[in-house]
């Protein structure tokens, strides 16, 4: 699959080529999983799975390169995460020690948390308002441009910049990092 251009890869994916989908999965799924975990989704693996199923269903409507495809799949994942969090909010609160969704979800969270070298930063991000969380994660953790971030979130670029500024200020304050002068 590496020999294919991104256009060919996406075209192959459209025609149902399994190898193409595996290539896309290997490139995009880890990012989606990390994003879902950092956003506090109850079951990051389920988010990845459902995101890919939606992508398979709607790939014929998609146009663009691999970067655009990644952004598009983040868009789908973001909605799935919001849905999952909303659903989880209706459930009875359980003690933190109990697994929320059974073995698989607990293991995904444990595995990602175990490999996080900066749990304090992760915790600080998760205490931010949702829109600021998303902007920080997309812009600085997953390295999307301001424009891509704006497209994924459905906001204007200036709105994204404002949200990012506020989020970074709050993170610095919470983590005790000295504020940057503009």
């Amino acid at each position: 699959m590496l020999s294919l251009t991104t256009e060919e890869l996406i075209e192959a994916a459209r025609s149902g080529d399994e190898d193409a989908w595996r290539g896309i999965y290997e490139a995009v799924a880890p990012k989606l999983r990390g994003f879902a975990f950092a956003r506090g989704a109850p079951d990051p693996d389920a988010i990845v799975g459902t995101t890919f199923l939606v992508a398979v269903e709607k790939i014929h409507d998609f146009t663009g390169d691999l970067d655009a495809l990644t952004g598009w799949m983040f868009q789908i994942a973001r909605r799935k995460i919001i849905d999952a969090r909303r659903r989880a909010a209706f459930r009875l609160e359980r003690p933190l020690s109990e697994p929320k969704h059974g073995g698989a979800a607990a293991s995904a969270e444990d595995e990602l948390f175990d490999h996080t070298t900066d749990p304090a930063l992760l915790y600080a991000i998760q205490t931010l308002p949702a829109s600021q969380q998303e902007v920080v994660l997309l812009r600085h953790v997953h390295d999307f441009t301001t424009r891509q971030t704006a497209e994924i979130l459905g906001k204007s670029e200036s709105n994204v910049k404002v949200l990012l500024h506020r989020a970074l200020s709050r993170l610095r304050r919470n983590l005790g990092v000295p504020q940057n002068d503009l």
Partner: protein, 219 residues
């Protein structure tokens, strides 16, 4: 340019989080993806097939029932009757072209002759006598061949049986004009014998009055 320590920590966090998905989970996801791709079109095809079968299952008995009772439109009824006759099943056949000329005459006269039609219609209803259609068809044919003159078969001079027969044949077209407002021959034939009696008298009478001396009497 110094790197912002917070941004550096955030990038580091990104690398920590972007870990490859475990094999068992990625295999399950890929299986779901391939299934979604492989089965989706088949499911649609299966659905279309099911819908087609259901439609066929509903339409076929309905069409055969309509053919059996003679309720199909004329051409369809004719075809159905022909096909059924090959198999040895008798279906009511629509009365052939014979009715059309009569009806066309009726339609011409309708504007002037309506008044006479309605009262007669009421009188004839009680006389409904379901009879075998083939002889009536013949009568109709005869009527048409000989023209308008054959219609005055109702006159008292003739025997009752023959009257009835003529009445039956003529009424088909009249009953149609009364019931549906159209002189379409197909309906009259398809609706069977009982209806046929209803309008027989009116036609013959109106025709008598219109044409003056009907050729039938000349016979």
């Amino acid at each position: 340019m110094t790197v912002d320590p917070l941004e550096h920590r955030l990038r580091q966090l990104g690398q920590d989080l972007e870990r490859p998905v475990p094999d068992d989970i990625s295999d399950a996801h890929m299986l779901a993806v391939s299934r979604a791709f492989g089965f989706a079109p088949q499911r649609r095809r299966g659905r279309a097939l099911k819908v087609g079968l259901v439609v066929l299952g509903v339409l076929a008995p309905a069409a055969s029932a309509a053919a059996g009772t003679g309720n199909l439109p004329d051409p369809a009824q004719r075809v159905a009757a022909r096909v059924a006759s090959v198999v040895g099943v008798e279906l009511p056949t629509p009365k052939p072209k014979a009715v059309t000329p009569v009806d066309s005459k009726d339609t011409e006269r309708n504007p002037s002759g309506e008044k006479s039609v309605k009262p007669n219609d009421g009188q004839t209803r009680p006389d409904k006598q379901p009879k075998a259609s083939p002889p009536h068809e013949r009568d109709d044919d005869d009527d048409v061949k000989s023209g308008q003159g054959n219609k005055p078969s109702t006159p008292p001079g003739q025997a009752k049986k023959s009257d009835d027969a003529h009445d039956d044949s003529a009424t088909d077209s009249d009953s149609d004009s009364d019931d549906s407002g159209d002189d379409t021959p197909g309906n009259g034939n398809a609706n069977g014998k009982a209806k046929g009696n209803q309008g027989s008298n009116p036609k013959s009478q109106t025709k008598k009055s219109d044409s003056g001396t009907p050729p039938g009497q000349d016979d």
